[in-house]
Amino acid sequence: MDLSEFEKTGKDSSSSKRINKTLILLRAYYHFNEAYRKVPAWMFWVRAKIKKWMKRIEDELLG
């Protein structure tokens, strides 16, 4: 958090940016999850890719 900026403007742009990014990744995770659920079982290579992307988002969100 940039304290001087917060004192001047009353806004914390860095944390709002972080929250925005979290929300965007959460929405992306939701859509990846839906896609994973809908992909036919025989398209295993697509499922594997989606799972990998979901894992990356999980790592980002949960740390």
């Binding site: 990014k21 990744l25 992306a28 859509h31 896609a35 809908k38 398209m43 989606i50 992307w53 990356r56």
Partner: protein, 208 residues
């Protein structure tokens, strides 16, 4: 929403995240999957062969074939009309007000469309090759010219005829095998018979 639509949505969000500085997943990776031709072709075929739709089509086909040829065309035509009306019940002005019907149409539209399409195909085939149709007359005329006969039951009759032909062929073989097993009595050949007819043997009485 299909899985491709969901992937597209996720791709747009990831592109936004990339612009904000998060680059763990690149958009190119997702684009590779989205633009893969295999998905377009197999995805469509896969959705076409959804289990419930396939089961509906097979059931309708079996029921239809089990019917008498006279009632078949009626069943197919009216079945097609009814399933089409039911499929779009939530868009037809008078039926729109019946909420249960509209709800049924909205939830089962794809199945109803499949039923209508199946019945239409069967009806069309019956029109083309069914008993008394132009197609059937044409085929039987060709058959007469080139020496094969069609059954009076249309295209189904052809298969029935084929099955009975195979059956009779198998039975004929069995009979032949049986006849080989029995003791055969030699009979005068045709040549011998002809010889007898041409030169009758005159038997001379013993007294002479």
């Amino acid at each position: 929403m299909s899985y491709l639509a969901d992937l597209r949505e996720a791709r747009n969000l990831i592109a936004l995240a990339n612009r904000m500085g998060w680059t763990d997943i690149s958009v190119k990776e997702i684009d590779k999957i989205l633009n893969d031709r295999r998905h377009k072709v197999f995805g469509e075929v896969g959705s076409m062969f959804r289990k419930d739709l396939l089961a509906t089509a097979i059931t309708l086909g079996i029921v239809d074939r089990a019917l008498h040829p006279k009632t078949r065309a009626t069943f197919e035509f009216y079945g097609m009309l009814v399933s089409l009306i039911l499929a779009y019940a939530d868009k037809i002005p008078l039926l729109k007000s019946i909420s249960s019907l509209a709800g049924f149409a909205a939830t089962h539209r794809l199945t109803l469309q499949t039923a209508a399409l199946t019945l239409f195909i069967l009806w069309f085939l019956d029109l083309l090759f069914g008993e008394g149709s132009y197609g059937f007359d044409l085929l039987s005329a060709i058959g007469q010219k080139y020496g094969f006969a069609l059954s009076s039951e249309g295209i189904v009759g052809v298969f029935k005829q084929l099955a009975s032909d195979i059956k009779s062929a198998v039975k004929g073989k069995e009979k032949k095998e049986e006849s080989y097993a029995t003791v055969s009595v030699p009979t005068p050949t045709e040549e011998e018979k002809v010889k007898e007819e041409e030169y009758p043997i005159i038997k001379v009485p013993e007294s002479l």
